[in-house]
């Protein structure tokens, strides 16, 4: 059976974190802390989701003088749809587990 794309545990964790505050722009380091994903895992995922049009990014002005601008991310409409779909699947799976 072909593997479903964007269905790895790490991707699902990232999508869930992004969905949690769907309209907010999120920093890489904050996402790393929230999901427990190390930068070496996180950024390839961000790059891939971005290439697939599931994630949008922009530069945010420095938080205070002397600091560089930050790259921030949030889900696009299709990213949001996928994250919601996965959330529903997770809930369904949890319920299935509870009934089993």
């Amino acid at each position: 059976m072909p593997r479903k794309p964007n269905n790895s545990r790490q991707t699902r964790a990232l999508l869930a974190a992004l969905l949690e505050r769907a309209r907010a722009w999120r920093h890489g380091y904050d996402l790393s802390k929230e999901t427990g994903l190390k930068s070496g895992t996180l950024y390839p995922l961000l790059m891939r989701l971005s290439e697939q049009g599931l994630l949008e990014s922009r530069w945010q002005e420095p938080e205070r003088p002397g600091l560089p601008p930050r790259h921030v991310y949030r889900l696009t409409a299709s990213g949001l749809a996928l994250a919601r779909e996965q959330e529903l699947e997770a809930i369904a799976a949890e319920r299935a587990g509870a009934l089993a």
């Binding site: 790393s32 950024y43 530069w59 002397g66």
Partner: protein
């Protein structure tokens, strides 16, 4: 005073830099990872983060995104990477890695007005850059680059890169002119035709300027909605033409131009350079400093191009013109000949509103019967343009007076010169950059807008392309910065330039030059001297005393 970074922190920075170097064609991702480091307070966490960044970069490099062979070669050199880690633990290892270099392809120089002496000091060529720095496989643009070697050799290792204004004006074609007044002793000078300008390829709708001239004159003459709509349609036809040629208009904007310059720096194997931005070039220069501070030794911002939120242009122009009229009132020759120039000017506009003047223009303007209808709006544009140039100041009151009296003298030639100068600008590139950078052009013409404002890109940009990440101000940078402004500058008033210097912070110094307009260095020997001193010795106190010795404007008296 900041504490010295710990060994762990230095190692983290070195690794993050190396991680960025592995992704040379994806600067935003490379920078994204690197910049986060500065927000991680704990040194051990920073090191773990940087190690992960390195891993992420190699992963990305090995996937389809980047050149596979080069990627494997780089992975094969991971032994060298281990060496780097060792070196990073040493005292002097911080940031000595360089990403793989883009190439400078040297070509024969074919530039106008070049003397044999200058020819011997020129290197001409091209640097191929990614159309989209986030997608290096999506094609290339070719930038024209000229290096003018300093007359005094050996030159200092850090040259000057001059970033010209516009957006849309060519630069390398003026190499001979640029070579005349060195920016600083013993420094080579780098000139680049920004993407979409000059000899750089591709060129966007090179015929747009001519078409716009017709619509601009119609707009000035009639001011009707129809003329306004025709002008917009001319722009949008250019957009369609560009899209038809396979160009993506999102490949323009200040961010991408700043990244291009970074590629040029690396292609020329320059470790650090002195950045001189003029007019719109200040926008590129500030963004470059914000994104690549380690590569900049000093930066000069000559005649700021207003950052967002931009004041209404007509308001800025009114203020500059009033400052000029006030200086006439303070001058004995000017005030005797033209006792109330501000009033005369207002009356002139009112008269032209009532009854435009037919002005004879030179045949090269190709106007019907060699005549142009001088409306109030067109005259206002002419006077605004003259405020840029101190060379025009002596005759400006006299010119206003003759138009007021219905007998304009020399105005046809002034118009021809101004339109010839405007024709040099690639207006499509101008729109391509501004529409990516400027949110306000996506809105309707604001309340209180004036004829001058109608000539801008309101009503064009929303249909031209998306908005890009905005240009940056290097707030809090440690790069020594000099901001210079002219008293009569109609693009940014000195107060606004001072405000930008304040935003940059304690590393920025601000100097205002009396009786100068836009582009200080070009028209003020005092400005050129101060700029050269600053580049030469940025840490020293600036001697600005020459600004107090500015010669008065030699106003022409009223003809008897």
């Amino acid at each position: 005073m900041n504490a010295a970074p710990s060994q762990l922190r230095r190692l983290a920075v070195a690794l993050a830099k190396h991680a960025a170097s592995v992704l040379p064609g994806a600067p935003s991702w490379a920078q994204a990872m690197r910049h986060e480091l500065d927000y991680i307070a704990d040194d051990s966490a920073a090191l773990r983060w940087a190690l992960g960044c390195m891993l992420a970069s190699y992963k990305a490099r090995l996937t389809h995104r980047f050149n596979q062979r080069a990627a494997w070669r780089q992975v094969a050199t991971s032994g060298a990477l281990m060496l780097l880690i060792g070196l990073a633990l040493q005292e002097h290892a911080g940031g000595q890695t360089e990403p793989p270099r883009p190439a400078f392809d040297e070509t024969t120089c074919s530039l106008p007005d070049v003397s044999p002496e200058l020819r011997a000091r020129l290197r001409c060529g091209t640097v191929s850059v990614a159309r989209n720095h986030d997608k290096p496989d999506a094609g290339r643009f070719k930038l024209a680059v000229v290096v003018i070697k300093s007359e005094q050799q050996p030159a200092q290792p850090e040259p000057v890169v001059y970033i010209n204004g516009g957006p849309g004006y060519p630069l390398t074609v003026y190499a001979a002119h640029q070579a005349r007044t060195p920016y600083a002793p013993r420094r080579d000078l780098i000139l680049v035709d920004q993407r979409g300008t000059g000899q750089s390829e591709p060129s966007l709708c090179p015929d747009l300027g001519g078409k716009l001239l017709e619509t601009a004159l119609a707009l000035a003459a009639t001011g009707t909605e129809e003329a306004f709509a025709r002008r917009q349609a001319t722009y949008l036809a250019c957009r369609d033409q560009a899209l038809g040629r396979g160009l993506d208009l999102r490949d323009f904007g200040t961010r991408v131009t700043a990244e291009d310059l970074e590629w040029v720096r690396r292609a020329l194997q320059i470790e650090r350079w002195n950045v001189y931005g003029e007019s719109y070039g200040t926008t590129v220069a500030m963004t470059l400093v914000a994104l690549h501070p380690d590569t900049v030794r000093t930066v000069i911002l000559d005649s700021i191009y207003p950052p967002d939120p931009v004041p209404l242009w007509s308001t800025t122009v009114n203020d500059a013109r009033d400052a000029f009229f006030a200086s006439c009132a303070r001058d004995s020759v000017c005030s005797t000949s033209f006792p109330n120039l501000a009033k005369t000017y207002r009356e002139t506009l009112a008269r032209l509103e009532q009854k435009p003047l037919l002005v004879t223009v030179p045949p090269q303007m190709r106007q019907p019967d060699d005549r142009v209808m001088l409306t109030a709006s067109l005259f206002e544009a002419v006077v605004t343009n003259l405020l840029y140039y101190p060379t025009a100041y002596p005759n400006l009151p006299h010119l206003i007076q003759t138009v007021h009296d219905g007998e304009p003298q020399g105005l046809g030639q002034v118009l021809a010169t101004q339109l010839a100068a405007a024709a040099i600008q690639n207006r499509a590139t101008h729109a391509a950059v501004e529409c990516r950078d400027r949110p306000h052009y996506r809105q309707d013409l604001p309340a209180g807008a004036h004829g001058l404002d109608r000539r801008q890109l309101y009503g064009v940009c929303a249909r031209w392309s998306d908005l890009a990440p905005s240009p940056l101000i290097p707030a809090g940078t440690r790069v020594p910065t000099l901001v210079i402004a002219g008293q009569f500058d109609p693009v940014a008033r000195p107060a606004l330039s001072r405000h930008v210097a304040d935003l940059i912070g304690s590393s920025a110094r601000f100097v205002e030059f009396p009786l100068v307009g836009h582009n200080v260095r070009q028209f003020s020997p005092c400005g050129a001297k101060i700029a050269a001193d600053f580049i030469d010795r940025p840490a020293q106190e600036l001697d600005t005393s020459c600004t107090d010795r500015t010669a008065p404007i030699p106003f022409l008296p009223k003809a008897r």
